[in-house]
């Protein structure tokens, strides 16, 4: 199959989904399942009157903050656990506990303990994500090559050279997995956080229009969301992964 035809399939498949949506909307109650045209109109109305991009932007900023914090802290914990047997034995139980802590519990506790503010919101999201990052990076750190570590010691690599040229490239695939899984998770939790304790952002808007039973607007926000997530995936993650893997045969 040539490259020109390969790009067509996802587009065709998406078109089919839209066609099913149109068909279903024609049959169903227009209030419960509005068609694409109605959703588009709702989206334009939001853009004009209710700050659609403002709410998307606020949510995006919260996602970015929570994502970066969780990646940094989760990686540090994961690498430490992967490298040190003692640390792993002492803390792997904690990790298991946090992995299985329901997101809603973390969110509620953060709001109760730290107040209904921005810091509590971002912390709640980050805490939900940190254990997943830590588990992934722990596997990566366990798989670090002893052969290359020996080589680096013999050739007197200093700490920063070792980190940049020996350790981080080996962890790159694990960072990619953690980032990809993490982004999907953070996106979903951030909406709940906004719904429960913020007065702006996509989660808050969804809550608002749920109370008004306005399905078209809800779908308009969902669509914007999907487009942004896909754009980040294609523009940043996929490109970075291709770059990180360029040396493979």
């Amino acid at each position: 199959m040539g490259t020109s035809t390969r790009g067509i399939w996802p587009a065709l498949s998406l078109l089919a989904l839209v066609a099913i949506w149109v068909g279903a909307a024609a049959v169903a109650d227009a209030e419960k399942l509005p068609g694409p045209v109605d959703v588009w109109r709702a989206l334009l109305a939001q853009v004009e009157t209710s700050g659609y991009f403002f709410h998307l932007g606020i949510t995006l900023a919260r996602v970015a903050a929570a994502f970066l914090i969780a990646m940094a802290i989760g990686s540090a914990i994961g690498i430490a656990l992967g490298v040190s047997d003692v640390a792993n034995r002492v803390f792997s139980g904690w990790l298991l506990l946090f992995l299985n802590l329901p997101a809603l519990v973390t969110i509620i506790l953060c709001y109760v303990w730290f107040g209904l503010n921005e810091a509590a919101a971002v912390t709640a999201v980050a805490i939900n994500k940190i254990p997943n990052v830590a588990v992934t990076l722990r596997e990566g750190a366990r798989a670090l090559s002893k052969d290359l570590a020996e080589m680096a010691a013999i050739y007197r690599f200093d700490f920063s050279t070792r980190l940049r040229h020996v350790i981080l490239p080996q962890l790159a695939p694990f960072f990619a997995v953690a980032a990809r899984n993490g982004l999907a998770l953070v996106w979903k939790i951030v909406l709940v956080v906004e719904l429960l304790g913020r007065s702006n952002g996509v989660g808050y808007q969804l809550y608002l229009y749920f109370q008004q039973w306005d399905v078209a607007t809800i779908l308009a926000y969902a669509l914007g969301f999907i487009v942004i997530v896909q754009a980040i995936e294609l523009a940043i993650l996929a490109r970075w992964e291709r770059y990180a893997n360029r040396w493979r045969r």
């Binding site: 052969d147 013999i154 050739y155 007197r156 200093d158 020996v166 490239p169 040396w247």
Partner: protein, 238 residues
């Protein structure tokens, strides 16, 4: 300038004793072959000499200066090009120096390729360049000619001689190939038994020029390793 002094009393892994008492002194610049069958503990001994293995009994005194090792598997960083692999080593110089060193060993065209895209022979040559780039006082070679095709063996042997001459380093080379040992080193010790000990320690009668001549290598080979064969001119298949 000092050479290398090895005085090992033993090395065990768990209750398995791999190395027994092993001792030898090398003059600065002297080249030693550690000869013995695969699995006898040559790599273990090299690890002790290199300083990566510290779980042994005894002492090793290394010459002042840097140590370089050419490992049996090249141990290049697969995500860096051949030239980058050399330039990242502290004290090895910049990318331009790495490229010109690689060009000297016939890797001028491959210097910006990643290791997995070139042959094992080329990877090992690059690993040898990395070793000589740090101008080592002690150079350790672990089976540098194993699993190369016959043409690469000849080229690599010349290159090893070039590297040893250029650095003037004290050299320890582990090998299971007796001819290879005779062709490259001043002195040959044989490891044998369990745990492994030195079963012989001989200075090669061949000077550094003489050992480049395959016939002279063959003569010493027969004299040393096939004492029962009296057929002059060869024909004694091992």
């Amino acid at each position: 300038m000092s050479g290398l002094r090895v005085a090992i009393r033993g090395r065990s892994f768990g209750d398995k004793s791999v190395l027994g008492e092993i001792g030898f002194d090398l003059e600065p610049g002297e080249r030693l072959a550690l000869l013995g069958p695969s699995g006898i503990g040559k790599s273990t001994l090299l690890g002790i000499i290199a300083g990566t293995d510290t779980g042994f009994e005894g002492t090793v005194t290394r010459p002042d200066g840097r140590i370089a090792v050419v490992f049996q598997t090249p141990r290049l960083l697969p995500w860096r090009t051949l030239a980058e692999n050399i330039a990242v080593v502290p004290g090895a110089g910049d990318l331009d120096r790495a490229r010109s060193l690689l060009a000297e060993v016939g890797l001028g065209e491959a210097c910006d390729m990643h290791p997995e895209r070139v042959s094992l022979g080329m990877q090992r040559r690059a690993a040898l360049v990395r070793a000589l780039a740090v101008d080592p006082a002690l150079l350790l070679l672990d089976e540098p000619l194993v699993s190369l095709d016959p043409q690469s063996v000849g080229a690599m042997r010349d290159l090893l001689t070039f590297a040893m001459d250029r650095t003037g380093a004290t050299v320890v080379m582990a090998t299971h190939d007796r001819r290879e040992a005779l062709a490259l080193t001043d002195r040959i010790v044989e490891l044998g038994g369990t745990p492994a000990r030195l079963v012989s320690d001989r200075k090669s009668p061949l000077g550094r020029d003489a050992r480049r001549d395959p016939r002279q290598v063959d003569d010493v080979y027969r004299e040393w390793f096939e004492p029962d064969s009296f057929e002059p001119g060869g024909g004694a298949a091992a």
